[in-house]
């Protein structure tokens, strides 16, 4: 993020308490990091193949990446990684490329083996070279983005983030362009409802999503090109966002890097809690995906805002902060820089309660000052949005004002039809008018905003922080997986061995080799 927050702190948080919070978060994260370092998943392995250039799908739409990983798994297993057997098989020169190999393999025509000695050395070397091509493309994309940002310029914060969600990439494109012309700095294409539970990434341009559009490499490409076009027209680099989330988190991160997406929704626990994906699977996947994001210069957006749709935004305020500290820790461990960690939070307090706006300011300011270098992603009201679109428009305005007053990095502008339908074109335009007015009219109102030291706002912020430290202490002592099983986040219980996708997890054998992590961890 180019515009770090420089405003002097207003809350006067105790640095000692803040340090304790971070120390406890690291402690709580540690066992999970160990887990992620010593296990792989089918999606991590497929990512390796994708970086090496595998593309396409079979007649049923199942990608060759999936077919090849399945074939390897069925014959020699995945405990050593997919690279060793695959590049060993390729070494014979029988197969034109990875895709050809995959086609043969899925027809049952390839006898994989786990190479050892020089054969293994060679497989490691050649796979590393092949994956290096993909990484090089990611690096090029990163440089291109930097160049475009420099040439076109970055907008001032808070960046305005808008979603499109028609289900049809060809409807999405004009809507995204219209949004950019109307003032959006970031455009997110929401995914079709079912995608996160697919254990493969669909192929090609798609037109049939429900409440969102499939994340595919081709859709990414089409949309990034459309936004490049409009960026040039507007003289402002418009960012593209998608979701590295669900069962294919690592692969989608990879495709994002390959197609120059700019920001990705990517959370260490969202899939567990809101998609009932197995916790171990998620933690392993998120680490790899974050290593890719780190390399690609992609800003991640975490999903703490979602907790407040199932839990109460006042009672559960501290769970948001705890999750942010964990997300930050996992992000740092995977190599993301502070300015790539777009922690999420939200304006979800019941508008019927007294002083609700000041409570929101307290929470937003706490997050701002706890993570001064993070490009915070601030989410609008959703839960308390009803069919009263006028009232909704008003609530969104106060959200926008809270964003401006507390120096948020990215604000996802709310839609007045949130309680009704996925947004209409006009909702988005009205939302842009709303945030445009608030930003222009309030201007530097933050200069006049000074919550007194012992006033309502500062006291509330301190209280949320101390509740967070307390909860982190308990998690550090009892373990993060048990805490999740216990319903700590989003009041949803998710046991460590429940949920979808555990069968896609493989413990590393001693000779496990992953050319991608090999490269990614090297440069760190």
């Amino acid at each position: 993020m180019s515009t770090p927050t420089t405003a002097p702190p207003k809350l006067d948080l105790d640095p000692q308490v803040v340090r304790t919070a971070r120390r406890l978060a690291a402690l709580a994260a540690e066992p999970v990091v160990r887990l992620a370092r010593s296990n792989s998943t089918v999606s991590v392995e497929r990512s390796v193949l994708r970086l090496a250039g595998i593309t396409g799908a079979d007649g049923e739409g199942i990608p060759w990446a999936n077919r090849l990983v399945e074939a390897v798994r069925d014959s020699v297993g995945l405990q050593s990684g997919v690279a060793l057997p695959v590049w060993d098989a390729l070494a014979g020169g029988e197969y034109a490329d990875l895709t050809a190999l995959a086609q043969q393999a899925s027809a049952g025509g390839v006898a994989f083996r786990l190479p050892t000695g020089p054969a293994a050395d060679r497989a490691r070397r050649t796979s590393r070279d092949a994956v290096g091509v993909g990484i090089a493309r990611i690096d090029t994309n990163r440089r291109t983005r930097d160049r475009l940002r420099e040439r076109l310029g970055d907008p001032p914060t808070p960046w305005v983030y808008l979603i499109v969600a028609t289900g049809d990439i060809y409807e999405d494109i004009p809507q995204a362009q219209a949004a950019a012309r109307g003032g959006a700095d970031v455009v997110a294409v929401i995914r079709s409802t079912g995608q996160s539970l697919l254990d493969y990434v669909p192929e090609g341009a798609t037109r049939e999503g429900y409440a969102g559009t499939y994340a595919t490499q081709e859709n990414f490409r089409l949309m990034r090109a459309a936004l490049d076009e409009v960026s040039a027209e507007l003289g402002r680099y418009v960012r593209l966002t998608n979701y590295a989330s669900g069962l294919c988190m690592p692969e989608i991160a990879t495709l994002a890097g390959l197609e120059r997406l700019d920001m990705m929704l990517n959370d260490c626990m969202y899939g567990i809690i809101f998609r009932d994906i197995n916790p171990q699977r998620t933690f392993i996947d998120q680490r790899f995906s974050r290593q890719i994001h780190a390399r690609a210069g992609i800003v991640i957006n975490t999903g703490e805002d979602n907790y407040l749709t199932t839990a109460d935004a006042v009672d559960a305020a501290h769970t948001v902060v705890v999750s942010q500290l964990l997300n930050e820790r996992f992000a740092h461990e995977a190599g993301l820089a502070d300015d790539q960690v777009g922690l999420g939070h939200a304006f979800e307090i019941n508008p019927e309660i007294p002083e609700s706006f000041r409570l929101e300011l307290a929470h937003a300011l706490l997050v701002r000052e706890l993570f001064p270098a993070a490009p915070l992603k601030y989410m609008p009201p959703t839960k308390h949005m009803t069919g009263n679109v006028f009232g909704g428009y008003l609530l969104d305005a106060f959200f926008n004002l809270a964003g401006v007053l507390t120096g948020q990095g990215i604000i996802l502008v709310g839609m007045m039809t949130e309680g009704i339908v996925t947004p209409f074109l006009s909702d988005r335009d009205l939302a842009l008018e709303n945030v445009g007015y608030v930003r222009r009219a309030a201007g530097h109102l933050a200069e006049d905003f000074h919550p007194p030291r012992d006033g309502f706002i500062a006291s509330r912020a301190r209280r949320v922080l101390s509740e967070s430290v307390e909860l982190l202490g308990r998690i550090a002592a009892d373990g993060l997986l048990p805490a999740i099983a216990d319903g700590t986040f989003g009041i949803t219980r998710r046991p460590a061995s429940g949920g979808k996708g555990l069968d896609g997890v493989v413990a590393h054998a001693e000779d496990y080799y992953n050319p991608a992590t090999d490269i990614l961890e090297e440069v760190q």
């Binding site: 289900g167 219209a178 079709s192 409802t193 409440a211 199932t310 339908v421 996925t422 006009s426």
Partner: protein
């Protein structure tokens, strides 16, 4: 002057009885040029708004224009024509529900809940089922005589059928929140068909109840389910309906040991 007792025939009301005033907004896929306001006025007039004032026209890029219209709608609402899905059964307390089940069913009533299709919105079904409940009313799990199995989200219809059979479910409660492209209607029809196929004897199949904020409770016939609950449903309404639909009425002196679904089926549209 406004009459305290509404007439049978009423019009929309701006600030005077009978003025018919309404507010309308929409987008047209046309540029905001000289023709735009005329096009918007035409749309409004074809909807019966006359006179129609196009009070706002805003270009959204070169190909779309947003409009706000105010005007007088010719429509007269006939209140006598309004179909209301009345609650034709009494609202029972948890104690009464428990008593009814215990005394008339003589075993626990089994309720299976799920979100089907790709819908992952569980807050609504949880509000009905979980102890925590909704708006101060405890959910069905709190009712001692109900056995609740909540399968959560994104459940396949085939799995739901299998589970309903395995649990010997009396009622299956399904939530649908995502409505884009009428997904909720398509999924409900799939549900109906699968259950009809699995229980060709309609009287034997579990009661099918669907719910979600955008359902029209009057569509039971069309969708082939036993009951539809809309936005703001409270758990006792659902529990009371289950008692009403699944337990035969207490005939004087006679308490059937096993419920027949005949009563419920008889009430259904054909």
């Amino acid at each position: 002057m406004s009459t305290p007792e509404p007439q049978r025939h009423v019009r929309a009301y701006g600030d005077t009885t009978g003025d018919g005033m309404v507010q309308l907004s929409f987008t047209l896929p046309i540029p905001n040029d000289a023709r735009a306001e005329g096009a918007a006025a035409q749309l409004a007039k074809k909807m019966g708004i006359d006179p129609a004032m196009v009070v706002h026209a805003k270009a959204m890029g070169p190909h779309f224009t947003f409009f706000v219209v105010y005007g007088r709608s010719a429509v007269v609402v006939d209140l006598a024509e309004v179909r209301v899905v009345d609650r034709e059964y009494p609202l029972l307390s948890a104690a009464d529900v428990n008593l009814a089940v215990r005394s008339r069913l003589k075993r626990k009533l089994v309720v299976l809940g799920a979100c089907i299709g790709t819908d992952a919105h569980t807050v609504g079904i949880d509000a009905i089922l979980n102890v925590k409940g909704f708006a101060g009313e405890k959910g069905l799990e709190y009712y001692r005589e109900l056995r609740v199995v909540n399968l959560g989200a994104q459940v396949l219809v085939a799995d739901l059928v299998a589970r309903a059979r395995a649990e010997q479910a009396d009622a299956v409660l399904v939530s649908q929140v995502v409505t884009q492209k009428d997904a909720h209607l398509a999924n409900t029809r799939e549900l109906r068909d699968a259950f009809a196929a699995a229980w060709p004897d309609r009287a034997a199949r579990p009661l099918l109840v669907v719910g979600g904020p955008r359902f029209d409770p009057a569509m039971t016939g069309e969708l082939g389910v036993d009951r539809i609950f809309g936005k703001g449903t409270s758990p006792p309404e659902v529990a009371s309906f289950l008692v009403h639909a699944l337990l035969p009425p207490v005939a004087a002196g006679q308490l059937p040991a096993v419920p027949t679904r005949a009563a419920a089926v008889a009430r259904m549209p054909a």
